[in-house]
Symmetry: C2
Subunit: 296 residues, 2 copies
């Protein structure tokens, strides 16, 4: 059939013809870009608080429509994805859900899941389901100007359904993230928060505490080791304070383990115990190497 | 003049016609590659402990000659660069220096400078000078198989002359590193060690202590933040134990400042003090951002 390669075939109706992204920052903007690149929706609506920024996002083709009224988007969307800071997700979803049609799905991209999934386990309108998501992707950069349509490709996305979450809703959200190239895991909200305290929230504190002690006059002597170790300390303080406090108990438990680990290293150095120090460093290296080369 | 572009002109005699690299690992191998790419020597001699590995380095063109006898290299070299672990640099230089001709320069690539420069301030043969160097470049990888001819380009190299080091010797070593594309700083060995404790040795402990607490079952939930924060924990335990113990007092002082910093973060989380936590995170970010985009 001549021309078949240049004439796009009529596409089947996507699973979510209209997707609303609430919070068009780095994550929301990247999600919009990823959805458009993969043709996962006919219409992407951006919901934000700054109409000028939304107009810019529309002008650059990141979103098809923009509105500062979540209810307008909620009334027409088949899927809403909340990409707002973690301390605004629950209230935002509660408010928007009242405007949703039955059958609408809601998910999020928050870094903490326990408090969000507990709060949203009750009180949503009949026929409107929430499934918690956490794509393990991000950047210390901010704003949709740094949007990356491949941000979620070859990354893990964690879903945190509860026992009450209908299986079909979980499966649809799973297909959504898989459609963006993510590898999906399902775990409980509480298990997610304990694990992420260790793999993400604790490292943020560790990196920030290290960046904070760098004497300005030594900055010229900071090479790639210091830069890598403190990269995530460049993240937004507002966003990260909300994450750390929304998961405070698991973070404090992780911090205690970390401080004990650091004490073991300090003792070996203080006692000039070369053998013990080598053992500790070798154990740390083995744990680091067990991560493997990573998904990307 | 037809053909001028394709016929290499007769080169002027390089400043160091014969350079011996003692310790052909990642740093020594990269140095050999960088010297050859930039034609900074006519002959590069590799000195190592494993003649099979040296033969491989010669076969792949990294070095021109290889020997397991430092005295053979020392007798013909104009410059010796010691790229051995920090706890073997002083003894290696003392032994090799006795075989050097007057006028020979010796430098190193050790991450700690105080103990090395103090020990070598006396006792070298007349006419043989040592100038301490520390190129702020490296990798958690090991071995000359990962050699990178551009490892030193656009990086800082610190020289640590003492008051007794002859100025012409310092200037020649400065030109050597500048010839490899490095940006050279001169500071005292003690000031170097205090600064590097903070910018390199402390980060290594911080990263290793963090890698050590990762529960294996959580490894699949470790994303780029954890990976970057712990990258340097993949370094060689033998090399790093020697570095940390050769600079133990400044490292312990840096560790104390770091533990105080971490305590401030812990308190803000434990007290759910959002305002204080944001302030601490903002201070950390400001310090991190003050590093700028880096030389590369």
């Amino acid at each position: 059939m001549p021309g078949a390669m240049t004439q796009p075939a009529h596409r089947a109706t996507p699973e979510f013809p209209t997707i609303a992204i609430v919070g068009v920052g780095l994550i929301g903007g990247s999600l919009a870009a990823a959805i458009k690149r993969r043709n996962l929706a006919r219409t992407v609506i951006g919901v934000g608080r700054d109409s000028t920024r939304l107009a810019q996002a529309r002008t650059c083709g990141l979103i098809d429509e923009g509105t500062i009224d979540p209810a307008i988007a909620a009334g027409v969307a088949d899927l809403l994805v909340f990409c707002t800071p973690v301390d605004r997700i629950v209230s935002g979803i509660r408010a928007a859900a009242t405007a949703c049609r039955p059958g609408t799905l809601i998910t999020d991209a928050g870094s903490v899941k326990g408090v969000i999934c507990r709060e949203l386990a009750t009180g949503l309108p009949a026929g409107v389901e929430f499934v918690g998501s956490h794509p393990l992707a991000g950047s210390e950069k901010q704003g949709f100007d740094h949007a990356d349509a491949e941000l979620f490709a070859n990354r893990v996305c964690v879903l945190t359904p509860t026992e009450a979450t209908p299986r079909p809703a979980v499966d649809r959200i799973r297909r959504f993230w898989e459609g963006l190239g993510s590898s999906v895991l399902e775990i409980s909200p509480e298990a997610h928060d304990r694990a992420l305290a260790e793999t993400s929230h604790l490292p943020h504190l560790v990196a920030a505490a290290l960046a904070a002690v760098l004497a300005p006059e030594n900055a010229r002597l900071a090479a790639s080791g210091f830069r890598d170790t403190t990269r995530i300390a460049g993240g937004d303080p507002e966003l990260w304070a909300a994450i750390l406090l929304a998961n405070a108990d698991p973070v404090l438990a992780g911090l205690q383990k970390y401080e004990e680990s650091l004490t073991a290293f300090r003792r070996a150095v203080a006692e000039r115990d070369s053998q013990r120090l080598k053992e500790l460093l070798a154990q740390a290296r083995a744990r680091r190497e067990a991560l493997g080369p990573g998904l990307q």
